[in-house]
């Protein structure tokens, strides 16, 4: 050891009486730099509780917690992020990923408290002095961790598609689908809004992993018609997708279609699984539309023998006889139906219940019944002239086109109605006119102004592209006829469709009249149901509510053995039909197993 090492500790002493080089600085305001990353702020009204901030935090500093006064609702979980500053490293990944830009950071970083738990709080909910701080860190606009734009979908242009009934949307390639799937943050906000509560983030993750078998299995857990829904679903889920706040929502519907398109039918059984052992119970389903097929599929899975009775020559209901081929090609619909059959469901076609077989017969032969006969009676405007033979119902024409009939289609046609079915017939007529006359002559008028037209936005855009003339905001007063010819229709401007209570009560300006010429009129203002196949004594026993059979949460009517679903219960929508077909199957299964135990 050197002598210096022994003495050096003592040399420190001589510094003891010198002036210190450091100064005593009491705690006082020392503002952070303008873009300093300090304590978080959250605009809780804008935040949707998606939890993406929690997922990205590499320090596990965030918990999603319920907050008083913020309820869960569609598109918002009601949860809000709570941050543990014992773990936060101020990296701002949570701010950068935030799906709504609600989460930011103040430049405030000074805060002293003796209670360590005080440093765990919910920004925006637990009031803090920096809540109104103007400076701090906000995600710069160009700085995105998830791509904002939807992967482009290849579609046929208007000039090509108008000449035929070929499908417009081409579908994603494997690579495109993976890129689109990559934009999903797996928050699951969309699941509550999907009527069938499909496992959306999970099947999207399956695409990301390229695992189409897992994807298909997940689809079939809640929806036995994925090819159909992947094309024509009303995709309400996309309207609440977390990504929509700062970009395009995920193309959920097209990703679903992609999975089903990717797997050939002959692989389905091995992937989705076969039916459970037979229970010996028999269920009859009336109507082979989405609800009927869905109920039949899940009942067959559970081991019950199912027979569907269908009046028309092919199964599918509105999916086949309503929706045109350019939106849903028959081979894709047939693929979904084929797997329902493969599971053992028997479909008896060309058999109208109430005529070819009575409901009482079915009741005797089967243990339970599910009726899903849909809405096939077109409603008339009942204006003078509406009973003329050249005035048609959209639903009848669409059915006849599917059946291969040559329908009456003059050079100028008038369509009345603003929903998707009106669009379907307008665009169908436009195609027939193009083939026949080389040009389109369809005028579509409806009470609603364009902003409140019930049709999907893309239908409005695409029909215009195809040459259909839209005149929203008019109601018909009279159809002009001349012997066996229709010459045109008079309309007056509609001022409002609903009254203050939101009830249908259109008001018109009679002085603002227009005349549209056309040799045919198609009414498409809604459909009603035909339940005449239910014998009178049953009709009396079933409770109706606003014209629809009243059902419980298992879609059971007031009769223990009679279940009802689809459009006759919930109004026209494929995915609702599928969801309540499934719910009814669960209910019927409980009912049948109860009987088996007796």
């Amino acid at each position: 050891m050197k002598i210096r090492d022994i003495l050096s500790p003592f040399t420190v002493w001589k510094n003891l009486f010198r002036d210190p080089v450091t100064i005593n600085d009491p705690v006082r305001e020392r503002p952070g730099a303008p873009r300093y990353r300090g304590f978080h702020k959250n605009d809780v009204k804008k935040c949707i509780g998606c939890g993406t901030c929690e997922t990205i935090c590499q320090n596990g500093a965030i918990d999603m917690v319920p907050v008083d006064g913020i309820a869960a609702k569609e598109g918002d979980s009601g949860l809000r992020p709570r941050i543990d500053y014992g773990r936060c490293c101020w990296c701002a990944l949570c701010v950068d990923v935030c799906m709504t830009k609600s989460l930011t950071m103040s430049n405030d970083y000074q805060w002293i408290d003796r209670d360590p738990d005080a440093f765990r709080f919910t920004p925006g909910v637990d009031k803090k002095k920096w809540d109104d701080a103007e400076l701090g860190y906000t995600r710069p606009d160009a700085h995105r961790l998830t791509p904002e734009e939807r992967i482009h979908m290849q579609e046929l242009g208007p000039e090509t598609r108008i000449g035929s009934f070929i499908e417009i949307v081409k579908g994603y390639s494997v690579d495109e689908a993976r890129k689109e799937a990559d934009r999903c943050v797996s928050c699951g906000l969309c699941v509550a809004t999907c009527p069938a509560h499909m496992a959306i983030p999970d099947y999207i993750a399956a695409i990301r992993d390229g695992d189409y078998e897992r994807g298909l299995k997940l689809l079939y857990d809640t929806n036995p018609l994925p090819e159909v829904c992947g094309r024509v679903c009303t995709h309400k889920c996309e309207s609440v997708c977390a990504v929509k706040h700062e970009g395009d929502p995920i193309a959920i519907r097209w990703l679903k279609r992609h999975i089903a398109d990717q797997v050939p039918l002959d692989k389905y059984r091995a992937i989705v699984g076969a039916a459970e052992p037979a229970t010996g119970k028999k269920v009859a389903v009336v109507g082979a539309g989405p609800a009927g097929l869905s109920a039949a599929y899940y009942l067959a899975r559970m081991g019950h023998a199912v027979e569907i009775f269908e009046a028309l020559p092919a199964a599918g209901g509105m999916m086949r006889y309503g929706i045109p081929e350019y939106r849903l090609p028959y081979p894709d619909l047939d693929k979904d139906i084929a797997f329902v059959k493969e599971l053992g469901v028997k479909i008896t076609l060309n058999t109208r219940v109430g005529k070819d077989v009575t409901l009482d017969d079915l009741r005797k032969k089967f243990d339970a019944l599910f009726i899903s006969t849909g809405l096939h009676l077109g409603r008339s405007t009942k204006v003078p002239g509406a009973d003329h033979p050249k005035v048609f119902q959209s639903i009848d024409l669409l059915r006849r086109v599917t059946l291969g009939e040559d329908i009456y289609c003059p050079e100028q046609a008038i369509v009345i109605g603003g929903g998707n079915v009106a669009m379907d017939i307008a665009r169908t007529l436009a195609r027939i006119q193009t083939k026949k006359y080389g040009k389109v002559g369809v005028t579509l008028l409806c009470l609603e102004t364009e902003d409140i037209m019930p049709a999907d936005r893309e239908e409005i855009v695409e029909s215009r592209e195809e040459g259909v003339v839209l005149r929203p905001g008019y109601g018909p007063t009279r159809i002009d006829t001349d012997g066996d010819r229709v010459t045109g229709t008079r309309f007056v401007r509609c001022l409002s469709v609903f009254d203050e209570n939101g009830r249908f009560a259109p008001r018109f300006d009679q002085s603002d009249e227009i005349a549209i010429s056309g040799a045919m009129v198609v009414e498409s203002i809604g459909q009603g149901m035909d339940l005449s196949y239910l014998p009178d004594d049953l009709q009396k026993q079933i409770v109706f509510e606003r014209g629809r059979p009243k059902v419980d949460r298992h879609f059971r009517t007031s009769l223990p053995w009679l279940y009802a679903g689809g459009d006759i219960v919930q109004g026209p929508d494929v995915i609702h039909g599928i969801a309540n077909g499934h719910a009814a199957a669960v209910g019927i299964d409980i009912y049948l197993r109860g009987k088996m135990e007796q």
């Binding site: 320090n59 965030i62 918990d63 999603m64 319920p66 979980s77 014992g86 765990r120 983030p201």
Partner: protein
Amino acid sequence: MRELYEQLKRLFPLGEYTEQRRDLAFVTVPKDHLRPLLIHLRDREGFTHLVLLTAVDWIEEGRFQLTYLMNDRAGKRDLGLRVLIPRDGAAMEGIHDLWPTAATYQRELREMFGIDFPGSPRVNGEFILEGWTGMPPYRRDFDTKKFSEENFNHRPGRATKDPAKHMKDKLYPDEA
């Protein structure tokens, strides 16, 4: 900058060119041409200063990208040279003989990414991590979340909820 790139291209087999600003551009260079290009830039084009040397882990492609950022003080411009090397057994020839400061960057890259620079001074010595034995933490397959969970405690009483599950409980508890 584009002009400089065109000139350099006549002398070196350069790859992709990205102009970020008028005074900042990046160019990809094959590994073996980095040294002659650096010397050329230093001695002929005024890029005398090595601003920094850093790396990016392109794990999907199985490659590391090294970025040598060079500054031309008189010309007030920066040029970044990108070199891609295989991630497996990642190693690169050092440039500490051209700029002694490079040794510090090389030591940092060795520690944080596990990229070796054989012969670089003290390249295997600890840099800022002490007693680190695991995977280099800037590698993309390093599980930061797991590391933080294993090394830092949670305060008691924490609880979180899954948004989708919470919505089911609140909005449709009875449905399938």
